[in-house]
Amino acid sequence: MLGLQIIVDGFAISALYALGATGFTLIFGVSGVLNLSHGAIMVSAAVGAWALHDLLAQNAYIGATFGVVLAMIVSLVTYGVIVRPIQVSRSIREEEKEIFILTATLLWGIILQEVIAYLFTNNAKSVVPIVDGVVSVLGVRIPANEIFTAIICWLVIGLLWLLVNRTPAGKAVLAASMNPKGVTLLGIELNWIYIAVWAIYGALAGIAGVLLGMFLGVSSYSVGPLTASAFSIVVLGGLGSVTGSLIAAYVVGYIETITAYLISPAYRFIPSLLLLVVVMYVRPYGLLGRR
């Protein structure tokens, strides 16, 4: 029974990690930005969903939708106010821009974290689940919400795949990640592609945040660990590789779950971080990254 429990729990948590990391890697792949305010955007979504439900006592769907929309707004603000000004700045040298963006998004994440803590305290909040109750499979009680989380995550990842590979807009995004100059020569405004990608990223991080809020609950303290986990999954999978991130999300999710069940929940994060260090030595470009 323990085996089944590990399989189910590991699958749900990994699906959440995969969704969170997909957005993170998408932004890196298209615009070369490592967004260290990722965790803050996820937490904004969850706390937004919680707060709206709390204020208006609306149904769960309205709260969840509001959380996702909020994350998209925060994501676009992150791009417009934090990232874009550095990218177009003439006073920062080109080769230093990456580190400036890294620092600025990190600080932006901390600002968001503090604002959330001041407005809503640092106590954890849980988003009201869309589906309630438990499902019994072979004697193991699984919260229906956990299954719902995994399904939604994979549905959204599937939709993203369709969008990128099967629509003209998606193909433009893909092209921008390969050759930005070529895209502009084709008459496509690069800036609009970036705005679209940040909006998509906001939606992905928002959905992941709201689902996490329903599944485990989040607090302003979650900001750092969520950014760190997305960052390590993306590095493990290979920067910019969506498939690599998906595989890495499952590797990390299952290693964590197995550690939590078989050793101790206190050591949950240690083995996957050790693995990351090993990968850094052996394959610094990640599992599926390009050299």
Binding site: L2, Q5, D9, I13, H53, D54, A117, Y118, T121, N122, N123, A124, K125, S126, V127, V128, P129, G133, V134, R141, P143, N145, E146, F215, L216, G217, S219, S220, S222, P225, T257, A260, Y261, P265, A266, R268
Partner: protein, 419 residues
């Protein structure tokens, strides 16, 4: 600006000196009309629910005392500092409070680690320190070890050992006598305050006839409690005895989402907050938790008027540390009045003789010959505590029976006595 240009600015220096003299004169005449205030520094966690009530509650007490004429004509002035839940920030705030703001006493924090970091500073800077919410027994054990230096610290809330004893007393009445429970698993967070709590649980639970099957310490960083509940369920206890404060929402929500069929009973500090129902979307339904006060429970004649005043001013119900913070201001004012001085050693002496009926009961401190000097006395005639349960969005009191305003009831997924 060089010295030459400064001196060259004709008349600037004399004017500056004249200004300073005038200010001094004005403040002298102001002092003649009004005695200097008694300053109380309040160091608390503005972002945590438990800590955020501390400054507001202290301010209410100060305003009430001032409206009644102050302490021998001296007003009470509350100066607040946000410590961001950090021990290092708290130490800096304490130093600033004493050295720059010249406070006469400090009320600080609900976190044991913070108070333990401040305790030596209270000794070094010879300033009275009282905590309205920390619980570790080590705070007062340190006073026994080095009374001369640590006597400035007072423990205005229950020690962990005493909290565990009160939980056991309630468990005897509610779980053993009433529901015939026989077994338990202790689940507590890994923190300074739970070490003595767990030791006390392990000693007192067998005394009331409950066998402890396991003792699980949870890292405060834990986000996924499923493996822990899974392990506990495998041991088939009648009840989970809790010791959680830094964590609260997440284990409670996951306990409900997973429909763990075992009741939770014990300390769950976040459950004492009036917002906990909303924070957990009602997952806390059925959770039974120790508290020193509860909505609508008139522990003393002062309890409900204070809650009303707090609610009127801040729009919410105070956290557990709010009640004690309010009482602490009155106790400090009372001690200064009795001491007839703001000299710290004299305040300490007067505080040791405190006999004050506050919002959580009658407050008296244990003497310096006990193992925990300056800890609160508990039991009949002192502080008994309550045992509350969340039911349908309300906190109802189940224990002691004399003050109960509700009956124990569990959500349908909890199987009582099926083991």
């Amino acid at each position: 600006m060089t010295l030459d240009t400064l001196l060259g600015t004709r008349g600037m220096l004399p004017r500056l000196a004249g200004g300073i003299a005038l200010c001094a004169l004005l403040s002298c005449s102001a002092q003649a009309q009004e005695k200097p205030p008694i300053k109380i520094g309040v160091i608390a966690e503005a972002q945590a629910v438990a800590g955020s009530s501390i400054p507001g509650a202290a301010q209410i007490a100060a305003d009430e005392i001032n409206a009644a004429g102050g302490v021998d004509g001296r007003k009470i002035e509350v100066i607040t500092y946000d410590n961001h839940s950090s021990a290092a920030d708290s130490v800096r705030a304490f130093q600033r409070a004493v050295s720059e703001d010249k406070v006469n006493a400090v009320i600080a924090s609900y976190i044991s680690e913070v108070v333990l970091a401040l305790e030596p500073w209270a000794g070094r800077l010879k300033t009275v320190l009282i905590t309205p919410g920390a619980a570790s027994d080590v705070i007062t054990a340190n006073i026994a070890k080095d009374y001369k230096n640590n006597k400035y610290t007072f423990h205005g809330y229950l020690t962990s050992t005493n909290i565990a004893r009160l939980v056991c007393q309630a468990a005897k009445d509610l779980l053993v006598d009433n529901l015939k429970f026989k077994t338990a698993v202790i689940m507590s967070e890994d923190a300074a305050w739970t070490t003595p709590l767990d030791a006390s649980y392990q000693a007192c639970l067998p005394e009331i006839g409950i066998k402890v099957l396991d003792h699980i310490r949870v890292s405060p960083d834990t986000t996924d409690f499923t493996p822990i509940f899974n392990k506990i369920e495998g041991q088939k206890p009648d009840v989970i005895i809790t010791g959680i404060s830094h964590v609260g929402t997440q284990p409670t929500v996951q306990w409900k989402n997973k429909q763990v069929p075992i009741p939770m009973f014990g300390v769950s500090s976040q459950a004492t907050n009036s917002t906990f129902w909303k924070d957990t979307n009602g997952a806390t339904d059925g959770v039974i938790f120790q508290a020193v006060s509860g909505p609508g429970v008139a522990v003393t004649p002062k309890t409900l008027p204070f809650v009303e005043a707090f609610q009127k001013r801040f729009g919410n119900i105070p956290s557990y540390a709010g009640y004690t913070s309010y009482d602490d201001v009155y106790m400090i004012a009372d001690a200064i009045k009795r001491a007839g001085s703001t000299d710290s050693d004299k305040i300490v002496e007067a505080m040791e003789n405190t006999d004050y009926v506050g919002t959580i009961g009658r407050v008296q401190f244990l003497g310096k010959d006990t193992p925990n000097p300056h800890a609160l006395k508990i039991g009949q005639g002192a502080i008994t505590g309550l045992m509350l349960q969340w039911q349908d969005g309300k906190q109802l009191n189940l224990w002691p029976s004399g003050e109960a305003n509700g009956k124990m009831k569990f959500p349908s997924y909890i199987k009582v006595g099926s083991k």
